[in-house]
Symmetry: C2
Subunit: 810 residues, 2 copies
């Protein structure tokens, strides 16, 4: 095993979905699944910025128009590259005897390899090796090289290479009742003897998509002049080439594809751009070189190295250096880099919950970015800024959304569609009971505070006052205004309350006997609202005078409103159990305890307790159970110092020991039905119970690689969980924190870990950080930036460019 | 006269073209010309990012495809709003007797007013008043209010309101032989009784354009429920409404139009977006309010106030406060703000030479931005950065362009089309001789250095190291590489030379007897190349270590190449006359002196000497004449200190007095055939001959308002000249300069000027600067930025936020 290679040997069709999801190639501009050389395999996705229709309807009506869901569109398949014997069918793995199968994803270089040796029914042995990339330097290119070796035969072979636009979105089984056809054919054209051209448009959103593909054949390093036969149908074009293959000889086929859409900048028309690009493109080897260099540079910024025992799934050996764990971490960082890549800067895309790789959730944007930002902020904060601007562009839509909900300010939707409209489902299917049940998850207004939190974190790491003044502040003000209008003063309690919401734990959406959804005073929601209001009021002082004047004018903001925010930020109600545990929401304490052991015995895996209970005509609303961390999110997002400050501000007492009590209380009542939950659980234990934390870390680490939820990974990776795992390394175990003008470290490596190396960027300094149980070493690269302040275990010092410091931790 | 209103009284059809150009409304997203209420008047432009075809061909072939010029497209006319008596034709100014006519452009509020009182052939007197805006807060909206008063009649009137997509680009007479039809109809649809919808697409670039227009009628403040008749044709839709109008009553018609294109971010589909927007839009009054507020905020940043004598055209009174001059300056700033507006940030557009208002040069991007950046840099540098990123996105195209010219690195084109391809004409029409003559202006490679200069200036004002590292440095390196590959070592001279170029002066494109175009050692080009190389080498030291490593890898840049640049930057050849005057190019001294007096007597206006001479079978190439400042550009772009540094670096002696000798030498030989030339001339005289400078300033000030070139303004304003005039105020007369870490002032107000007030932004400080002949007062607004260093007349001091300083100048 290598730290950089995900390797599969032997072919099991059962595993194909998971394998394809993990081996997806992408570059933020498009993604490509499917490893096979078979014609019509493979998919290509474009980051969805298209309108989403209803989740559970075939079509939906919006403003009088019938709309299809086009938030994530499966684009024409460029991987159509295959061969057949003159007397046979197109090559297909299921028709041959597989003698050897090896598939490798090299995440350091962003290359996918597959080698198959097989024997057909006529005894012909063939070796087929492919190498594939989705280009990381020029986002418009994909390329594949196929090498065919006739092991024991000679004879005529026909190759086919083309572009298949008659594809569907069909990656998620339960969506197949929905319309998956999003492409209309516009044009096909043979450009020259090497090149074909296809243009389609999406049905509803009218995005034009152009592809040009160039195919070249080599034998013994010599370019072969081939005369293709062209097959054209609406939405489909391919070239077919016939040649005589001789025993023992290798034929290589290189296919280079250029993809442009009508949303691209700096083009005239996407068809012309695609044709020009492919005509000017170098050969496969050139493309590989520039692609690898781009990846090398990304890894220089993103690599997290560590040495630890354990982490591998049981039964798998993991050496002291944590090779397996490192490989998985690399794989997860690889997917983050493929999804939220530099190429998204101009594209107006957000952080999709399941990558652009998978079709689950149909490309909608949730709150998952709160788990992804910490990785990006500390490395390429230009991407963070671009993602925040994605939200900013949808601020008007969020205002409309708030108005619809009956409040002022802005309410970013729980599931955000292309134009920023709420796309949460109203009902969803329980595959267990086959029943459609009401879905009230859109009441997760806490996503609003998550966006505020992300803006603030971005600002802390970058000190980017310009972004804050120009874009960030307006969002913070509008989110604060939302909370200000939603919070109601309860004169009995003499405190403000927030009613009618759902917290991060989706098992609780209403009270057991209630006739309408929504909970009272979800602790997480209330405290995040307080934090948002406090933070917004503080940031106002940071803004340049002329800019705050503009904002006050534009938003018609007055002193009275600010005073109300101030008041709320000091008098928000927080629910507590009698023994001081923070109640997940008001009334949680009265719910029934759940029979965990009984259900575990009955069902085994009870991660999706909601489905099990619903199938029994019961509901998790009745019990003290959570799908995922809810109160615990507070300990994840805030350091004890910050929490104490907020509690004191609210006039509640705070004792650091409460944290452990709460953590243990809620961990005992969590089914971890969300992949994000283990990340949070591991995090909150990082200091109190390192070995439990490490155990949860390794479980979280397995989430996608072993498809821990049993079948969900093939519908798309879990980007938030992938990032969360990396962030556990980055922040939980290092105590990395940015507050005020200081970069804090407070390492607490798990006992299993002997060393951790990070590269981070902080306010224009590039830092290399090495942590062992004994010492922390920090080095800055040359940069014109001024000195920064670092704190290690509470001791603050200055660090200048080009300097190295070692601090004793023992 | 007001400082904020451009007013026309009385209607002269002859002046209509100029009037429309100056009264164009725009917001960076679209622009609208034509003041009239006549159906089918008015135009709407979209910032052109589309592919340009040949300048002088109907169509051109690019990569095997026939291409139309779609760099600037005239979009459907939303101003179709008119009326007629039941027995008559649609209202038209030429059919009635005009009793009173008043047109006013209020540039403070961005509102265009027109009032017409007229009598028709049947003696019916009618008053028609319109008020119009192109919205500055929400770029998608245009709105018009028409008030009709039946002065002395009653009777049925039919109104028409619609969207006309069967428009052409026909604004420039000499282009009318070219294809001006760029729109194909896609859809028309009556949405409801108030609203119609039109969708078209551009023919070649396939941009979808959607408009929805809502028309409402009011009488006595009451909304009237009207039943429209809908008229639809391909590319056209209108509603017609009939009502009885009573004598003395006012009918108001409010039309609100929403425009979206398929390139917009944060939408699903442009048609849906346009319909939603117009359905959600407030009434005309609401739109006016938010529009005015947006303008008020812009003026807070951009206003330049001054008090001066003179400046008005002869015969026009101008009081001590320079009301006329201030009005023109406001008008010019207004057009700058309407063209390079905040709404372009997401649009990928550059600085068009003639605004988006006019069709001359067909939307191509020249070097004019070098005159516009100083105004933007000091106010909203987010726009500057966006404009520089426009160039960055075309860096690949510039590389292709350099390769075509036979050089390394990047060569940005002289006339840049949508995808960054060279679009300079190969031949052009001399309207004087009616002959098509070869055009070699694409050899103005100096545009490359202008882009480098703009990047550096942006960095100086903003200290935006992130932009520099991420985008700017790569452009600088590639431009340097271009000069490095173009400069040849001449072993006789023991110096490097640049051969085969054209300088800014387009009168000189080749030697009189030469059979191919291009000049040797244009002084401006050579020195700018030296400056670029020097600046690039210096900036490399500023970059963070990890970023420069990436750049070196990506560009395959080595030490040898840097050493060559260094060598060139010390050994570039500069041509001089025997008496020490800098030769415009090698051999200029040998050209014939021109008979200025003779030609002035013969022709009167000799601004376009090239056309006069060509019509006589002669050529300006033979004479010491320039169309515009060439050598003088050096004194415009660099302070004497900077020039001295460059000369010394090259081993040439430099005496500040040389400047005056050169200025006077070349001013005597300049026809000022470019609107930019007077700006530069006024600038270079600002310190040596203040009254001559002031005279040239006032001439430059008149360039568009009086259409100084006789007919060119109606084809589009001269954005560079407009900005240049404002920049004379901003920098020439204040000595404002940014170098290193210091903001320099060195005021030299013309004697006519008693006071000058500026608002500028410098490294996150907002500064108010007031200059009189006696003192300079500088005030910073509250801001979290650290102190900045200011130098006034050579004395450096620190200024903290919220501080005010007064410095005695007398």
């Amino acid at each position: 095993m290598s730290e950089w290679r995900l390797r599969y040997e032997g072919f099991d069709p059962e595993d194909e979905g998971l394998r394809e999801a993990l081996c997806t190639l992408g570059n933020g501009y498009f993604a490509t699944r499917g490893a096979g050389p078979e014609a019509r395999a493979g998919e290509i996705h474009y980051p969805g910025t298209y309108l989403a229709g209803g989740y559970n309807r075939l079509e939906s009506e919006i403003e009088g128009r019938v709309i299809e869901n086009e938030d994530l569109v499966n684009l024409p398949n460029w991987l159509l590259l295959n061969f057949r014997h003159a007397d046979g069918d197109w090559f297909n793995l299921s028709d041959v005897e597989i003698l050897a199968y090896n598939q490798e994803l090299d995440v350091r270089q962003g290359l996918l390899y597959r080698t198959v040796r097989c024997r057909d029914q006529k005894g012909r042995e063939t070796k087929v090796a492919t190498q594939r990339l989705v280009h990381m330097a020029d986002p418009h290119f994909g390329a594949e090289k196929l090498t065919l070796t006739a092991v024991n035969w000679s004879g005529p072979v026909e190759f086919i290479s083309g572009l298949e636009g008659r594809v569907e979105n069909a990656g998620v089984e339960r969506y197949r009742r929905l319309n998956g056809r999003h492409l209309e054919p516009l044009a096909t054209e043979p450009v020259d003897q090497e090149t074909v051209y296809l243009e389609v448009q999406t049905r509803q959103s009218k995005l034009h998509v152009s592809q040009a593909a160039r195919t070249r054949f080599h034998e013994d390093g010599q370019l072969l002049g081939m005369l293709p036969k062209v097959v054209e149908e609406p939405g489909y074009i391919a070239q077919q080439f016939i040649m005589n293959v001789k025993e023992g000889r290798e034929i290589t086929v290189e296919k280079v594809m250029a993809l442009y859409t009508s949303r691209d900048h700096a083009i005239s028309e996407c068809g012309l751009a695609a044709r020009q690009a492919v005509a000017r493109a170098g050969g496969f080897t050139n493309l590989v070189q520039s692609h690898i260099l781009a990846w090398e540079q990304l890894w220089r910024r993103f690599e997290v190295e560590f040495y630890a025992k354990g982490g591998a799934p049981s039964g798998m050996k993991d050496e002291e250096n944590g090779e397996y764990t490192t490989m998985v971490l690399h794989l997860y960082l690889f997917h983050i880099l493929q999804t939220t890549s530099l190429h998204t800067l101009d594209l107006d895309v957000g952080v999709p919950a399941r990558g652009w790789h998978g079709e689950a959730y149909r490309g909608h944007i949730f709150w998952d970015e709160i788990f992804v930002f910490p990785i990006l902020n500390f490395r390429i904060h230009e991407i963070s800024r671009s993602l925040l601007r994605y939200r900013y562009r949808r601020l008007s839509a969020a205002r409309v959304n708030a108005r619809k909900a009956g409040f002022l300010g802005a309410l970013f939707p729980w599931q955000s569609g292309s134009d920023g409209r709420e796309e949460s489902q109203k009902i969803h299917l329980n595959p267990k009971s086959k029943r459609w049940i009401p879905d009230d998850t859109h009441l997760q207004y806490h996503v609003n505070s998550a966006i505020a939190y992300n803006i603030y974190q971005y600002f802390q790491v970058t000190d980017d006052l310009e972004f804050l003044a120009f874009f960030g502040a307006e969002m913070l003000l509008e989110v604060s205004r939302f909370w200000g209008s939603m919070a109601q003063y309860n004169s009995d309690l003499k405190r403000y309350e927030i009613l009618g919401v759902v917290g991060p734990d989706e098992y609780h959406t209403r009270y057991p006997e209630a006739d309408k959804p929504g909970l009272k005073n979800n602790a997480y929601t209330n405290l995040m609202a307080v934090w948002t209001l406090t933070c917004t009021l503080e940031l106002l002082d940071l803004l340049p005078e002329d800019r705050s004047r503009e904002l006050f004018e534009n938003l018609d903001l007055g002193q009275a409103e600010l005073e109300r925010w101030h008041d709320i930020s000091k008098k928000m109600f927080l629910p507590f159990h009698e023994d001081g545990i923070i109640s997940q929401f008001q009334g949680y304490e009265e719910l029934e305890e759940f029979d965990w052991d009984g259900y575990r015995q009955k069902y085994g895996d009870i991660q999706r307790l909601d489905r099990l209970l619903e199938a029994e005509d019961d509901t998790p609303n009745r019990y003290k159970v959570s799908k995922q961390a809810d109160v615990l999110m507070l300990f994840y997002l805030f350091s004890p110092e910050q929490l104490e400050q907020l509690f004191v501000q609210l006039g509640y007492s705070f004792d650091e020991k409460t944290i452990f009590k709460n953590v243990s209380y809620y961990l005992d009542r969590t089914s971890n039905g969300s992949t994000l939950s283990r990340v949070v659980s591991s995090w909150v234990l990082a200091r109190s119970d390192r070995s439990a934390s490490w155990k949860l870390f390794t479980e979280a680490l397995h989430s996608d690689i072993t498809d821990i939820q049993g079948g969900t990974t093939k519908e798309g990776i879990h980007l938030g969980a992938m990032a969360g795992v990396a962030d556990l390394m980055q922040r939980a175990y290092t105590g990395l924190e940015t507050r005020g003008q200081v970069l804090y470290f407070n390492p607490a490596l798990p006992e299993e870990m002997s060393k951790l190396l990070l590269h981070i960027r902080y306010r224009f300094h590039s830092l290399a950080v090495e942590i062992t149980p004994q010492k922390l070493k920090i080095e800055t690269l040359e940069s014109p930036a001024g000195p920064i302040q670092i704190s290690v275990k509470g001791k603050v010092f200055k660090l200048k460019m080009g300097e190295t410091k070692e601090i004793d931790l023992s």
